[in-house]
Symmetry: C2
Amino acid sequence: MKNNNKINKINNDSNDNNDNAINRLIVIQNHLSPGSIDLARERENPGFDVQKMKWLFNGGKEMFEALEEAYKIIQRDPELYIPGGHPFDMTLKEQRELVMKQILRYQKTRQALKNDPLLCRALELTMCTYSEAFWMRVYVHDTLFCQAFEMFGTKEQYDKWIDDILNWRIIGCFAMTELAHSSFLRGLETTATYDKTTEEFIINSPTLESTKIWIGMAGQTATHTVALCQTIIDNINYGINWFVVPLRDVQTGKPLPGIIVGDLGSKYGRHGLDNGWIQFCHKRVPREYMLMKWSKVTFEGVFIPSPNPALSYITLIGERFYVLYGAQSALGQALTIACRYGCIRRQGVNNEQIMDYQSHYVNLMPGVASVYVINVLYRVIVNQWNQATKLAQTNQSEFLKKINDFHAISSGLKATLTWWGSEVLERVRRSMGGHAYSAYNAIGPAIADWGVTTTGAGDNFVLLQQTVKYLLDTFKNIVIQGEEGKGKKIGSSVVYLNDFQKYMKITQCNLSNENQLYDLDFTLDIFTWLVIHKLNEAQATSSLWNDNQMSLIKLAELHTWRLALYEYNQELKNLSKSNYNNSNINNTNNDNNNNEEYQKLLPIFYKMGQLWSIHLIHTNLHLFLEIDDGGDDSNNYYFNKNQIKMIKNIYLKMCKETRKIVIPLVDAWGFPDFVLKAPFGRYDGDIYAAYFNTIKAAPNCFGVPNYWNDYIKPFTNPY
Amino acid sequence: MKNNNKINKINNDSNDNNDNAINRLIVIQNHLSPGSIDLARERENPGFDVQKMKWLFNGGKEMFEALEEAYKIIQRDPELYIPGGHPFDMTLKEQRELVMKQILRYQKTRQALKNDPLLCRALELTMCTYSEAFWMRVYVHDTLFCQAFEMFGTKEQYDKWIDDILNWRIIGCFAMTELAHSSFLRGLETTATYDKTTEEFIINSPTLESTKIWIGMAGQTATHTVALCQTIIDNINYGINWFVVPLRDVQTGKPLPGIIVGDLGSKYGRHGLDNGWIQFCHKRVPREYMLMKWSKVTFEGVFIPSPNPALSYITLIGERFYVLYGAQSALGQALTIACRYGCIRRQGVNNEQIMDYQSHYVNLMPGVASVYVINVLYRVIVNQWNQATKLAQTNQSEFLKKINDFHAISSGLKATLTWWGSEVLERVRRSMGGHAYSAYNAIGPAIADWGVTTTGAGDNFVLLQQTVKYLLDTFKNIVIQGEEGKGKKIGSSVVYLNDFQKYMKITQCNLSNENQLYDLDFTLDIFTWLVIHKLNEAQATSSLWNDNQMSLIKLAELHTWRLALYEYNQELKNLSKSNYNNSNINNTNNDNNNNEEYQKLLPIFYKMGQLWSIHLIHTNLHLFLEIDDGGDDSNNYYFNKNQIKMIKNIYLKMCKETRKIVIPLVDAWGFPDFVLKAPFGRYDGDIYAAYFNTIKAAPNCFGVPNYWNDYIKPFTNPY
């Protein structure tokens, strides 16, 4: 009831000054908390239409309204809603159970809503936003497992399995990593040995180190897995392929003979996800359980290789783009909480809002800007990927050409965004003082949940090396071998290498007025200069790969952030043109009425892009200064001291400017209070009472502890 | 049994090559795991005496042997040892209970050992190293609560309470922070109103926001608290003072009338510590319950103020130095685990040890060096502080003069070290890939436990502002007002300001050969140049405090690290002289036989100091380049490009060099396996089997989950 009121309130946001004056009077009249008055004042002059931004940010008016409906469904349904409002007092066992309960209810709800696909999609998105562990568990089956059949299965295989998969009559997991092997897939030890006599593969874990581990849903849930194994025929190893392996009896849940499977137990975070491990003991599966879209094994045992070895990890390319949506959700929620708290919390001699301290807003505002950048980037990149995968059906060779580029992009984005995500979440935690150490303000659990993204699904260091290897190889082709401009098609992420010579000729930045730094083309140009010069350094030393690894990894990061700036910049240009309907961030075509209104939001997107660009330049300032052109004057620096001053100055200035509208900026993401779960993130600002109620509702808040007589009384009553 | 064997093994470390050759043969003979062979090889040529380093690192041979005995006691005693070896499967409730069980057993054990004070002290240190939550809980009573009586109580008050405190007949906590007030103590709302008629103070929490919160041991344990309250007499507020307030009935554990107290519930970490909250409802205490060493209130209600307001937070100065010991323990344990794992884990085409990847050793080696620096620094600073506090008894005015300096030092060290600690722990986590996400490898819990140190006991941002304020004030006195060299005594941490003019005259670094960077005096000089120039920038703009807050905070960090380098450097000089017995890091005088042996370890300490120095310079490289001298040539940079190259080069080189002895370096800290708790940190290198055994021993590893029939079977058996 309370929260429904809140949603209505959110809908009533308005930048109409009269309304706000009246609202303010009502606030005071009702003797609301000081926090409520603070947030009301922060909302007085957003300078943009928050409601319209909510629509645009969330994929259009129609989509946003569907999301609101979906949130209402979750909040009302006792099997979707987390009992008590949060999972922070639940044991690991209870959280594992809760999430499966939610999944069952969610699937039934979707079946009931099947005639409303928009609402179904909205329910999926909102549940994933509501619960990280729910998301991961559904994702393992619906995405990783299911896509394995799409990407690696023949049409016959796909048709055979897909109905059971879509209806969860079998529940799947994705077994790649082994106890002692992860990033280097060719080193995996699990074997699938072909037995001609029975036309079966024998799946086997030859050593302890080959135990499949960290497999989501293997712990308690999955009835089947796809497993990456070395394919052995007549004692010859033909390399890794995917095999379907049944794990548990679908009636009883008991592991099948030949399968030893267990739960991984306690983790840093994501307690609702049952990560597990699997050992195969001579488990036999029919030959057709090898997924044979690319590589094949005939019944006689002849191996037909894949046209492109990269195809065996193709599922992971698309998967990695989800990290953008995940970042938007995790960072968006944490920043909503921290920014609202920062505008309510007061401290110091003049009882200032702590958000007005420079150390506060400079730490948080780049994070806020990044959420807007990620929001746009996610939609742009996913659209590009979707268009590419359509080619897989119609023009395989064209699709295969694009794979390397997408692999490099997705690896780079996954690594840079997950590192940035960890940094933002930690900044958020520190910005909230001791109160973020309470589990009930949701930040600690968010840090722990997010943690695995930096090491799981490809270690970031390894991924960035793959990105930089692609970059250097392309560089060699088009610059050193001089194939640029000869019509050779290169991946879209590296097109800027065609301008290599142009950037190499520039030795000093032409920044003369700090206002130039508001120009996204100008800052993109500065950043591109850095990437090109780092690349030039790298290619000279890349034969000493390991001795330059740190530098190469940094180059991959810079290359990726440059791409993000470029795509964001391009998309804003699309948005500003009349052909807005063709832009990526408009997901629906039913929103024509709002086109003009949306274009009024452009200045906000520009502000966010400006802050993000200057943040990137400021953060990497030392790299600009370290670049060694090897020219005659070895003391020629790209930036002179005056320019450095301008950059530092504008950076602080942009943080300060955007701080003024921080509450409207985070409100516009549209996370309802019950999703945030943190009393300190409440929309209405009445934070202390809500927090205190949460504490008092926790188990064992009051009362004498059960161990008083055993372990305390012997002290206090020693005689 | 197993673990006892391990300790014997540790004692048998030797750099005798014959022994090692034999050991190696035995290793191979016994078909030990590949990890065991890897670690044995890493231990072959340490280049220093690991056993002697263990002694020196841990306070001398005698102390180290006492620590080993104490570890044995813990491991054997079923009430001190954590059942199952780790707390990572326990609920919050179980962990709270476990720690109190340990405390009772620990106190009884100490009583039994009272004739062996060295072993008692060793038991205290080892238990604190073994369990963070144990440490915190004991620390709240033994240090915070107890010291309040020492620091703020009159002799009569001290004598009245101390016996009950030392014997835990009352159990105390330390109530400072309030729900809406923390760093700005003058803003606290809790009142102590004097009632002349009864000669009592009425302790009251006037608002929800004034609830005392985050109070360690208040949740379930404490029978008493000291509380910081506004002192009100005849409607006049005389400011904050400390009051003793009984909380719970010592017989029954029930809260007393006028006290509402509860547990704070779930937190990010430290589940064994019962943080709580307290509301006072007109609770009356006798006038003598105000601690009156400095401020006093007579029975007629006359307020006699304290000679120095800083005295009211004096407990916190000494407290903050514990963070150094805490950092040594937390970082040391995490790095031991990560470095051993890094030398066993193999990945890549050539199956390299991942520790040989540049991205790996460059991330970890500065952390290893920092543990050695912190170890020395801790002992130096604590010795200085202990000498100062002795003055409190004999020469109060001299003591008061030193307080500001120590306050600035302790604030700076607390902030910089806790931030660095978080960074190291996160680096460690990421270096271990997915396996550090398992709670059983102890890194996730360590990150969560450590987290509160960055915000608790004084927010780092606020503390660094206090440090920089002291620095700027001193600067104003001795440089701007020209009082340097006139014999005015200034705090030891700021003596270098006397050389302000000397450093201001230097505009370019005189680095011409990269070997100069191995000279600790030389690198200290470079770093001092940076601090002086940042200070010069800061003083020019310090009137705009908030607009330069980020820069001022950075200055405080640099100033603090400079101090650390200086003190470390000085101490190595002491150690290298014949007057070694006067050095700070020799805690015992019974170790004369080992003096010469210890001096042979000096090269290792120098190596660690060199790496740490170059790490600091490298990390802050951009700051050197940003410094604006305001001279005619605004493009004069302190480092030229060639010098930058040398710094980057030497940094990577030192990381690579020290990586070669990384296992001996971490072995020398002497953490036993059962304290590390992480299978991946095992001394013997047999990590995978141990890890897998831990997983299999966890609750609910095997078996059909309890929710199969309710939430999974409806999917897999839909008809």
